[in-house]
């Protein structure tokens, strides 16, 4: 960021481009979904994006070796990298929050676009997406020998977790016979929560979520995050075998 400020635009570009195509293709009908989906895509790519940094620091700069042979434990290192990566998500999140403020009117008593509960839900869901994506990115990164390997996985994860699942569009758009597949992606549950956070109080949403219960959404996201943290703690190669 200090050496190349344009990096900041990088995380905004993809979610905005995707929003653009979704809005054009739906003739504006999916604008609300697109805005909310853009937030999820932004934090997800920021989380999984740490794999490139981690592999670069480990393989090209040998920085991870410096850290391994120091009092710093793996979780602290990963948390530091993930937080520094999160800085890049801030411009994207600001853009999408501004768009949501334009799209949705303020709700009483705060006058803000989200109710207090909605804001908490939005924050919690995005936090969990970022957390499990970071844990996933770290675990994968420790197995890579070359940064080019991450070039394969990052788009794949994005495809599986944001492009295909109902993040930018409602789940009802998926044919009923294969709708179950959408629930294999954790972002489906996050999107459901985020849509609830907004659509519960706004009529501007194209379609209110109806399939998964909020409790199920939270349980899946929390469970997956716990599992990925466990995998990161036990299976990631901090010290090489």
């Amino acid at each position: 960021m200090r050496t190349q400020p344009l990096y900041l635009l990088n995380t905004v570009a993809s979610p905005l481009a995707f929003l653009f195509f979704v809005v054009v293709a739906s003739r504006g009908a999916l604008l609300s979904y697109g805005i909310l989906g853009g937030m999820i895509l932004t934090v997800l790519t920021t989380g999984t994006g740490i794999q490139s940094d981690l592999v670069h620091y480990k393989q090209d700069m040998k920085f991870q070796d410096v850290v391994v042979s120091s009092p710093v434990e793996a979780p602290i290192y990963v948390a530091g990298i993930a937080l520094s990566e999160f800085v890049y998500a801030v411009p994207g999140l600001v853009v999408f929050l501004l768009l949501s403020a334009v799209r949705f009117p303020g709700v009483p008593p705060t006058g803000f676009v989200y109710s207090l509960g909605g804001a908490a839900t939005l924050f919690g869901a995005l936090l969990l997406v970022w957390a499990f994506a970071s844990a996933l990115g770290f675990t994968i990164a420790t197995y890579f020998q070359d940064i080019r390997e991450t070039f394969v996985f990052s788009p794949l994860i994005s495809l599986i977790m944001t492009t295909l699942p109902p993040v930018y569009y409602p789940i009802s758009s998926i044919p009923a016979s294969i709708r179950w597949a959408a629930y294999l992606s954790p972002t489906t549950y996050a999107a459901d929560l985020v849509h609830r956070a907004v659509c519960g109080v706004h009529s501007a949403c194209y379609e209110a979520p109806s399939l998964a219960a909020a409790g199920v959404d939270w349980a899946v996201l929390l469970g997956l995050t716990a599992v990925l943290f466990f995998l990161a703690a036990t299976k990631a190669r901090w010290r090489e075998p």
């Binding site: 050496t3 700069m61 920085f63 070796d65 391994v68 042979s69 120091s70 009092p71 010290r239 090489e240």
Partner: protein, 315 residues
Amino acid sequence: MADAVSSRHLSKTYAYRGGSTVALEDVSFDIPAGETFGLIGRNGAGKTTFLRIAATQLLPTAGTVTVLGYDVAHEERQIRSRIAVVPQESRPLYFANTEELIVWYLRLRGMDRRESRRRANGVLEELGLEDVRRRLVSRLSGGQRRRVMAAMVLASDADLLFLDEPTTGLDPFARREVWGAIQRANRERRTVLLTTHYLDEAEALSSHLALLEGGHLVVSGTREALRARIQLPYRVTVDGTTGAEELSRYGTVSGFGDLRLVFAREREARELAQLALARGARLSLAPVSLEDVFLQLVGRPLDEGPEAESAEGAA
């Protein structure tokens, strides 16, 4: 004298799809505390593998290594708070400036801000990096970056420093500055494990040395003991125009390319030098060095190409 590092029957095999590479086999030696220990050998000899195991980055396949009294396989936490490492081919983070990076590293190790700044200032001065203290690392030369890496660990309060070829790529002046900082660490009674290709560096800095070749320990001991392996104190190098039989009258002869090395006592060395000069032959006369020891033990010079693909590279 207590040992900072103790290796017993250490072996390391890198397994990969379709095969494996033995990087170290049955390696046992000790590194005394408070000394600078030179680990020498060619590419692929196993130097970096040994260092990475001792620095708790890599697990051994067999055998044991204890560092500062702790087992590297099971007690790595106790070790990590007391060691600092400059890995081979490591580069400093490019988005920080020189001073920030050193302070960050020290803060990462738990040092308070004030002490971190004080130590950073000291090491910047010592390693000739004062002029670039506010310069982004991305704008430093390759040699300056290597010095920044060395500065980070030399500024730390670690009891044991691992320096994996810290002066590779440095110009002679910068090398001397790093040498000075290593000597200072040694004066502070800190232990330094130094791997290097440069035998003059190993000889200048290390009180104890070990030579690895093809994953095996060839020899280890004090610098003086290694030098004493060649009984005759002088080496005369002459070109191949003089016959080996004639040369053998002056000392022990070994061939090396077009040159012949004669190890001799002082009087015979002088006589041989005069003879060679009288015949117009090219010659050099010098005290026996580590390079001679290496040559005699291994049969070829250190800077001759590696036997095979580096096992460390496969790791």
